[in-house]
Amino acid sequence: MKVTLAMKPAAKGFIPIEAESIVPKNFLSGTDLLVWRGNRELRLDEVFSVSVEGEADRAEGVEVVLSGETFRLKRVGEYMDGGKITVLGDIGMHCGNFMTAGTIEIHGNADGWLGREMAGGAIVCRGDVADYCASGYRGGRKGMKGGTVEVFGRAGDFLAENLADGTVIVHGDAGDMPGAEMRGGTLIVHGDCSRPAANMKGGSCYVYGTAREMIPTFKKIGPVQHDGRTLIQFAGDLANRGKGNLFVKNYEYLD
């Protein structure tokens, strides 16, 4: 079953729309769903032109395709447990929060908190992601707990904060403090970033470019070969009695 949701032009274009009802499973029982714009509840078809082709009896058989000005559309794919969501343009905050299975593919950019507290499944973003991609919630201790997030563009700050398990790959640069407080899982940044793996407890963080403002409390172990690259291995964060591994191509301290 393929569900196509084309965003209609809105009068109050900047008020965010919260649409956690947009998960493949929900379309098995029709398109009679509700979303919120600010404090007003709206029917799905007030916001989108909705069309459905084919049938399905399980979430795995459902693909939802979103098009139009979807950059203010929040919480799409929250608690998703199977099936596929394809976003042809940009997507708003909190896409794929808590998802446990299935696939989300974003052709444009993603706003903050993409895949927050994700536990399984896969998210692919062809564009850039804003801050807190694959992170946790305020005050929480565990961020992402499983699954994979792959970003082909750049990532903002606090990427994979509190990462507990799963894999996060960013092909471009990342911002400040990727992998802060990480305690497990794998974070790979192909480009440059600043202050990676600050206060890490465990897990592995790879920076294939330059780590700027390197945290001074990582212990240098020495060069290692990884995936055809020579990287320098560090252990830390000693300040936090951490037992994590940080691998960087180049690094600079703020001295």
């Binding site: 965010p16 600010g38 404090n39 403002e213 000693l238 300040a239 703020l254």
Partner: protein, 429 residues
């Protein structure tokens, strides 16, 4: 008439030993307050009555009209923002929360651009703190980190630290050491026993290094960290460990610089680490006299200290998304009520551009920068001068501000309660 033990409604020190001399409806002299407090008590040029912008003109309107305007504006909004709150008393803040809940709006206070990052840090690792009197009576080491009390909290040094008498210190001025950590050699740095000058943006690295040094892992630390030599870091760590009671007071130099709340988290974790060796506490130098009160009120009523979004009926909290600067910069609200703050003076330009596009009602005694963006401004009494109510000091101690003179102005609580009553009426089925 002289009012003794008046409470100063300027900064988070909330000094409560002020003597105010009043003649008729004017304050004529202020004793004990700093320059900031004195000026506030002597404040003039209040707005006389509610005003409304009509086209390119301002016209005077009645309180009833102004309050009705605000109620209608908020009721018809899809995503109203209720911002400010630090410059008013707790009783008014409570009405504000009820209002946000009723109209399904977002309520945020000035801590989002002040110590909001400190709160985010506390939510990750907690907060070993104490009241100011504990420091005054015990601390033999005080560290001001990214804070400049001589300019921002002028009596902090004389009431609680450098120049304060302490029960357990024979000669407090001599026996108490002061360390200042800053990127600038501020006036406060000049009175310190030790000044640690950090390269801008380097606080986090220095805090990590200190944590490792306190644990005895000195060998990994590079020779200099963010402009500070390893030797100085070791000296500072030793000063901390050998103190009987140490206290860190940090300011916006940590909350506003890159890393934001991670800087505070690192400072808190340093203090927690030091508690394995001696007694250490850490506290934020809160700005507005009642910004902490706004956090307290929001917390007991909604569960969260600031940035609370009631759009969906339940309380949702996510600073960075539900905080005023982000909402305004992203143009995500369609009306705003401003109480006890001046966002137009203190927010980046892009936020102001959105303020210009949406209806705004402000409660404030004075014309200020935000006035220019208002559709309606309602003058109110000043808490601590012609209104009274609860305020929370920077260390969480609640103090009732006093009224030192009587005026005809309504208090924030009275204006907001009337607004709230109108909204409740409108929402009755």
């Amino acid at each position: 008439m002289i009012v003794k033990d008046a409470v100063c409604p300027f900064c988070g020190c909330l000094c409560d030993d002020i003597e105010v001399e009043v003649e008729g409806d004017r304050v004529v002299a202020v004793t004990n307050a700093c320059e900031l407090g004195t000026t506030k008590f002597m404040g003039e040029k209040r707005l006389k009555n509610p005003i409304q912008r009509v086209g390119d003109e301002w016209k005077d309107i009645t309180y009833d009209e102004a309050i009705r305007y605000a109620a209608d504006m908020l009721l018809s909004a899809e995503r109203p923002l209720l911002y400010g709150w630090s410059g008013t008393h707790g009783e008014a803040q409570c009405v504000g929360v009820h209002m946000a809940e009723l109209i399904h709006g977002v309520i945020d206070n000035t801590s989002s651009v002040c110590h909001g990052p400190s709160i985010l840090a506390i939510q990750e690792v907690g907060h070993p703190g104490c009241t100011l009197g504990v420091v005054k009576n015990r601390a033999d080491l005080v560290i001001y980190w990214g804070s400049n009390p001589i300019d921002a909290h002028p009596r902090h040094l004389s009431r609680y630290t450098r120049y304060a008498e302490g029960f357990f210190l024979d000669n407090a001025f001599r026996d108490r050491k002061v360390i200042v950590v800053d990127v600038r050699k501020t006036e406060t740095a000049n009175i310190a026993d030790e000044f640690v000058q950090v390269r801008p943006g380097g606080d986090y690295a220095i805090l990590s290094a200190l944590r490792a040094i306190v644990q005895g892992k000195t060998e990994t630390i590079p020779r200099t960290v963010a402009g500070v030599t390893r030797e100085q870091l070791i000296r500072v760590a030793n000063l901390c460990k050998s103190a009987k009671f140490g206290a860190v007071y940090f300011g916006l130099g940590l909350t506003m610089t890159p890393g934001k709340y991670k800087n505070i988290r690192n400072a808190i974790e340093l203090v927690s680490e030091l508690n394995r060796h001696t007694k250490f506490t850490i506290s934020a130098m809160r700005g507005h006299y009642n910004v902490y009160g706004s956090n307290e009120v929001n917390t007991w009523m909604t569960g969260y200290p600031f940035g609370i979004d009631f759009s969906r009926g339940i309380a949702f909290y996510n600073p960075g998304e539900t905080t005023a600067v982000d909402i305004l910069a992203r143009k995500e609200c369609d009306a705003a009520l401003i109480v006890g703050s001046d966002p137009a003076a203190h927010f980046p330009r892009r936020c102001l551009e959105h303020l210009a596009e949406i209806p705004i009602v402000q409660l404030d005694p004075y014309p200020n920068a935000t006035t220019a963006f208002c559709n309606v401004q309602i003058p109110v009494a000043v808490t601590g001068i012609d209104a009274e109510g609860t305020a929370y000091r920077m260390d969480g101690v609640p103090i009732r501000t006093r009224r030192v003179l009587w005026s005809d102005y309504l208090s924030d609580e009275e204006v907001l309660s009337r607004m709230y009553a109108l909204m409740q009426e409108a929402q009755q089925p």
